[in-house]
């Protein structure tokens, strides 16, 4: 064969290969779109469309007498001056500042303890800490409602037996703390699993190097493990922030037991729900829901930027 023939054959072979690869790429692209399509279909119809409809509703005002009128940003202005809504947001900010650090610290401690390998019965302990997350929220709230009960709950009966006054778990001052307790109990296992999975993926050579340098278990945890799982910590923090502002289940169920402590607007989410179904004020409820979404976005971004800035500095 002459060199030109070889040269001619090679480009054709390459060309055929690229055509085969191009066809494969296109088929792969089509396949991936098809596989994701069901999700996007549901996402569009169940999330995006109702979101836009809700936004549309929030621009109107409906009265029992007089029908529907266009209100523009009237509902939003009203919400920003509504002391019930603002009180709810402040209450959730309070909740966030106290409960989230406690819960995540506990989850981190449990995850580190499990990862250290010093515990016996690891699987059972992991399961036991995770089980509260598997308990449906309604059952959990009912159970805690009974435990907190001022007449027949075990804490109340125990306190009465030793002559102490009944702890007012469902009273005005302690209610937020009681709800924090329920939420922590429910979610510490969930966050622990996320952090534990992140810990398991740290390469073990780092530990060997640390041991050689004479580091103990606590030093390893502080200087190696925690910095290594920072992305997972950020993830759990963001989830907790979003979950806190959306708090609905526990206050809604405890409202039955303590209807005068948990008002209609105890949390912003509960306020939106009650506005829609008790006040029949769907438009204002939509505006509250949107404002809540904006508040959550702002706080989440603030947390993320705070962490990123610290990372960049270090």
């Amino acid at each position: 064969m002459s060199q030109t023939a070889v040269a001619r054959r090679r480009p054709r072979a390459v060309e055929m290969q690229t055509r085969r690869r191009g066809g494969l790429k296109r088929r792969q692209a089509i396949a991936s779109y098809c596989l994701v399509a069901p999700f996007f279909l549901v996402f569009l119809t169940m999330l995006v469309l109702p979101l836009f409809y809700s936004g549309y509703l929030s621009l109107f005002r409906e009265q029992l007498v007089g029908g529907t009128v266009f209100a523009g940003v009237g509902n939003y202005v009203r919400a920003l001056q509504d002391h019930v809504f603002l009180g709810g947001v402040l209450r959730m900010a309070q909740f966030l500042v106290i409960q989230v650090p406690i819960m995540l610290s506990l989850a981190l401690v449990f995850a580190l303890a499990l990862d250290s390998g010093r515990l016996r019965m690891q699987r059972i302990i992991r399961l036991a800490i995770f089980v509260p997350y598997a308990v449906p929220g309604v059952i959990a709230a009912l159970m805690w409602g009974y435990l907190y009960g001022p007449n027949f709950g075990p804490f109340a009966q125990g306190a009465r037996a030793i002559g102490l006054p009944t702890p007012p778990f469902l009273g005005n001052e302690w209610m937020l703390g009681s709800i924090m307790n329920i939420v922590t109990w429910s979610f510490v296992g969930y966050n622990m699993i996320i952090l534990y999975a992140a810990l398991r993926s740290i390469p073990t050579e780092l530990y060997d190097a640390a041991r050689v340098d004479g580091a103990g278990e606590f030093r390893v945890a502080w200087s190696i493990k925690i910095p290594a799982i920072r992305p997972a910590l950020l993830l759990t923090t963001i989830f907790s922030v979003i979950g806190t502002f959306q708090l609905f289940n526990e206050p809604n169920l405890l409202r039955i037991l303590a209807p005068n402590v948990i008002g209609v607007g105890y949390t912003p989410n509960l306020y939106a729900y009650n506005l829609a179904f008790i006040n029949q004020d769907i438009n204002y409820a939509a505006a509250i829901a949107f404002l809540l979404g904006i508040v959550i976005m702002i706080v989440s971004y603030a947390v993320q930027f705070g962490v990123l800035r610290r990372e960049r500095r270090s």
Partner: protein
């Protein structure tokens, strides 16, 4: 197009937004209030023809065992099939009903509506006027205070099913153990409460919950107050600052402040346990009380007795009403004749109406049943063999007439919990709570476009 290719996410969002707005523009949102002229009386021939036509009706109600009465109806009219659905009790039921009405579909034909919520549905024109379908002729069988709640002029919007005249349900054994005679006036009741609390430092003579505006309104009703008014169109009256209401508030204020009576929320598990364990020695409840007591307070069966409420004026015995339901027909029904006949039949025919009273312990609204010996002479084991129906029938006759409800009692009851109810629960000054409730109701009424007098 360039945008869609380079940034598919943006393109997707834009398409979604356009689609959403298009969909939403088509669906509109305002409810249609078709004002048709009231039809003239439907002829018996038309009714008979409709009852022989194969029809499917949906009936939303939470009355337990109402399937028995409906079965009797279906036996009489085999062509009509009725689906009885329990969509929840109280607030949950009304939420679903209002959502279905707003959506225009998914609602029932016949629905249970309590007396205090009827105006909120007639205000929006959601209920069928059943007068032309045979409801006009039954008015003579009901006390005027009942009939005025379901009718507006010549129109009839609900067939009364049961009522709740209020009486004093009390534990005779606990009271005599504390050395207390049954109080017949409110002054005696106040003294009895203090004596009882002194004798039993961990128990209460009674409980006044902070979450039950219905009970409180019944007591206010007994005192002769008429705080609410509604002209059926755009004007409401909200006047809680009357001497009669003040009389009731001033009575309970010291008892609540000094921790003489309980203030636990009612119809919760701890409250049932309280009644079962003797934490509360009495309940100023309604004639349907046993229905709830028999469940969790079953072990106290036989220890309860019934008496009239303590009186403000023993010369003019009076009572109030708490609760009670009607069966109404939605205007959107496709079978108005069959639906209205169902509502009428199970509540006015002797056999099913008597069954409600004797088997399900609903207190009848109908005078015929109130006088029926099978009902009146019934001895109740829960009340230690007392003929309580006779007692409550006598009380029912003393309920004073002309009590009117606002067309937004959902909101009124909810704002009670935040204001006056909260004052009860926190044991603070009830008068301040009352003022706050008045203010909240007035603000809401104005916001919703009503003229407040």
């Amino acid at each position: 197009m360039h945008l869609f290719k380079k940034r598919p996410a943006v393109g997707l969002a834009a398409t979604a937004m356009v689609a959403a707005l298009a969909l939403v523009a088509c669906s509109g949102g305002a409810s249609t209030n078709a004002t048709t002229a009231a039809p003239s009386k439907i002829t018996q021939a038309a009714i008979d023809a409709a009852m022989k036509t194969k029809t499917n009706l949906t009936f939303w109600t939470w009355v337990p065992d109402i399937k028995n009465e409906v079965a009797l109806f279906q036996a009489k009219y085999p062509a009509i099939h009725v689906d009885v659905v329990n969509v929840g009790q109280g607030a949950a039921h009304y939420q679903k009903l209002r959502t279905a009405i707003k959506a225009g579909t998914g609602g029932p034909d016949v629905v249970q509506v309590e007396f205090q919520y009827l105006p909120s549905f007639t205000q929006g024109g959601d209920l069928l006027n059943m007068a032309p379908y045979g409801a006009a002729g039954i008015s003579g069988d009901y006390a005027s205070w009942i009939w005025s709640q379901v009718s507006s002029g010549s129109a009839v919007y609900g067939i009364p099913q049961d009522v709740g005249p209020m009486g004093n349900l009390y534990r005779k054994d606990l009271m005599s153990a504390a050395g207390i005679k049954l109080p017949t006036t409110w002054d005696e009741f106040s003294q009895a409460a203090r004596t009882y609390r002194a004798a039993n430092p961990h128990k209460y003579l009674t409980n006044m919950p902070g979450n039950d505006a219905g009970q409180f309104m019944g007591l206010v009703w007994q005192a002769g107050a008429r705080p609410f008014g509604y002209d059926g169109k755009k004007t409401v009256t909200i006047n809680l600052n009357t001497p009669e209401v003040a009389k009731v508030i001033d009575f309970w204020n010291p008892l609540v402040r000094d921790n003489i009576i309980g203030v636990d929320p009612d119809f919760t598990d701890p409250w049932y346990q309280g009644l079962a364990s003797g934490l509360y020695a009495s309940w100023q409840g309604a004639a349907w009380g046993p229905v709830f007591l028999q469940g969790t307070a079953a072990k106290t069966s036989g220890l309860w007795s019934v008496a009239p409420l303590p009186q403000w004026d023993t010369q003019k015995p009076a009572s109030g009403n708490w609760g009670g339901s009607t069966d109404a027909v939605l205007k959107s029904t496709k079978n108005p004749i069959a639906a209205s006949q169902l509502a009428l039949w199970i509540n006015t025919q002797h056999e099913p109406a008597l069954m409600f009273a004797t088997k399900q312990f609903l207190f009848p609204a109908s005078n015929t049943i109130l006088k029926d010996p099978a009902f009146v002479d019934e001895k109740s084991a829960f009340y230690g063999g007392q003929q309580v129906n006779k007692g409550f029938a006598a009380i029912s006759a003393t309920v004073t007439p002309n009590f009117v409800w606002l067309p937004f009692m959902d909101y009124a009851y909810s704002s009670f919990n935040e204001t006056l109810g909260k004052a009860f629960a926190d044991r603070t000054n009830l008068a301040t709570g009352l003022k706050a409730w008045q203010a909240a109701l007035t603000t809401y009424a104005t916001q919703q476009g009503f003229t407040v007098k």
